[in-house]
C-alpha cells in the first residue's frame, strides 16, 4: 500500500545524535546503520523515548550487527522495543 508523506528529511546519526525534540517533529523515524553510530547508546535511548512519546520507529540493518560500531544499543535494544536480539554476528537481514 502506498502511503503519502508531507515531509521527509535526513539526519546523519554518524555525526551526531538527534534530540527527542527533533524527533518529535516527525511521525515516523527510520533509523539504520551502515557505519558506526556517533553514540549508539544515546541513539537507542532517544529512539525509545520517541516511541514512548507516540512516535513510530522502524530500524533497519545493520543495527543488529555486533561489529564495527554499527550495533544499536541503549533502551531501544534492551527495553523490549526491538523485535530481534543481536546474536553477536554480522546479521544482514
Amino acid at each position: 500500500m502506498r502511503s503519502d508523506v508531507t515531509q521527509v528529511d535526513l539526519f546523519d546519526t554518524g555525526a551526531s545524535t538527534p534530540t527527542l525534540q527533533q524527533l518529535r517533529q516527525y511521525d515516523i523515524v527510520f533509523a539504520f546503520s551502515n557505519n558506526a553510530w556517533n553514540n549508539a547508546i544515546a541513539m537507542g535511548n532517544v529512539l525509545a523515548d520517541y516511541e514512548d512519546d507516540g512516535g513510530v520507529v522502524a530500524v533497519g540493518n545493520y543495527a543488529w550487527a555486533n561489529d564495527g560500531g554499527w550495533l544499536l544499543q541503549g533502551r531501544w535494544m534492551t527495553g523490549g522495543y526491538s523485535p530481534y536480539n543481536s546474536t553477536g554476528q554480522a546479521n544482514f537481514s
Binding site: V8, G14, F30, A31
Partner: protein
C-alpha cells in the same frame, strides 16, 4: 481448528529374555537380544499411538547338550509420545542343534520422529439452525423482487430427494417459512443447482433424474443491479518521515523514493 495426520517412524532397540521349553528331551534356556524396527502410523490427538513390528535375532544358550541359534519375531504395541516405549512379545524358534521352542518377552524402547501434515480451515465459533428444509435442498435462490405470483421476499429451493422445486416466503430474518412452502415444479427427479441469471432473471437448475439436463425457467423479473460501493479516493496522509542514517553517504535513493509519493515534499 485443523485436521492433522501424523506419520511416526521410529527405530526400536530392545532386549528379549525368555524361557524356552523344549520339545526334545532336554530343557533349555534361551537368552536373546532383540533388535527391532518400529514403523507406525499415528494419529495424534495429544498422544500418539504407534504399532511397532520388529524382528529379533538372538543367540540361544541351552543347558544340556543342545545349543542353537534362536530366531524370534517380536510383535508389539507401543505408545509413542515423541519417544516410543513398548513391550514386545515374541516367539523364539531355535535353528540348529536342539529343538527348543520358547516364548521371549522383551522390552522395546524406540525413538520416533513425528512429521505432521495439517490442513488449516476456518474455525467455526458457533452455528444455529433456524430452519429445517426436508428432502435434501441442493440449491437456494432468491426470487427477484416484483416477479408475478411470488411474494416480495421468497426463495426457490431445489429439493433433490423429491425431485421438485419449491418456494417459500421469507420471514423478517430472511429465513424461509417452511410451513408455507409450495411446490413450483414437480417430476424432475434428482435435481441440483438452482440459480437466478442476474441478466435475465431466468431460473436455472440441473436434473440428473431426467437425463442430466439443464432447465431454464423464465418469467421472473430481472434482479436489480447492486449499486457499487464507492471507493474512497486516496488522499495524502500527513506523514512526516525522518531518515536517521549512519553511513558514509546519505541514502538519497531512499529519500527520493519516499518523497516521490503523491503529496511528498521532495
Amino acid at each position: 481448528m485443523g485436521v492433522a495426520v501424523d506419520v511416526a517412524v521410529g527405530v526400536a532397540v530392545g532386549v528379549a529374555v525368555g524361557m524356552a521349553v523344549g520339545v526334545a528331551v532336554a530343557v533349555g534356556v534361551t537368552v536373546g537380544v532383540a533388535v527391532g524396527v518400529a514403523v507406525g502410523v499415528a494419529v495424534t490427538v495429544g498422544v500418539a499411538v504407534a504399532v511397532a513390528v520388529g524382528v529379533a535375532v538372538g543367540v540361544a544358550v541351552a543347558v544340556g547338550v543342545e545349543m542353537g541359534v534362536a530366531v524370534a519375531v517380536a510383535v508389539g504395541v507401543a505408545v509413542a509420545v515423541g519417544v516410543a516405549v513398548g513391550v514386545a512379545v515374541g516367539v523364539a524358534v531355535p535353528v540348529g542343534v536342539g529343538a527348543d521352542v520358547g516364548v521371549a518377552v522383551g522390552v522395546v524402547v524406540g525413538v520416533g520422529v513425528t512429521v505432521g501434515v495439517g490442513v488449516d480451515a476456518f474455525e467455526i465459533i458457533s452455528a444455529f439452525q433456524r430452519a429445517t428444509l426436508t428432502g435434501g435442498p441442493e440449491g437456494i435462490a432468491f426470487v427477484p423482487p416484483g416477479s408475478r405470483v411470488f411474494p416480495v421476499n421468497s426463495v426457490l429451493i431445489v429439493d433433490w430427494q423429491h425431485g421438485k422445486v419449491v418456494t417459500a416466503p421469507l420471514d423478517s430474518n430472511s429465513d424461509p417459512i417452511v410451513a408455507n412452502t409450495q411446490d413450483v415444479i414437480q417430476g424432475l427427479g434428482a435435481s441440483e443447482g438452482g440459480v437466478i441469471d442476474p441478466l435475465t432473471g431466468d431460473f436455472l437448475l440441473s436434473s440428473a433424474g431426467v437425463g442430466g439436463k439443464i432447465f431454464r425457467v423464465s418469467g421472473f423479473e430481472v434482479p436489480p443491479t447492486p449499486s457499487p460501493t464507492p471507493t474512497p479516493t486516496p488522499g495524502p496522509c500527513p506523514f512526516r518521515v525522518l531518515i536517521a542514517y549512519s553511513d558514509a553517504h546519505p541514502p538519497i535513493l531512499l529519500y527520493n523514493e519516499i518523497g516521490r509519493y503523491p503529496g511528498g515534499s521532495v
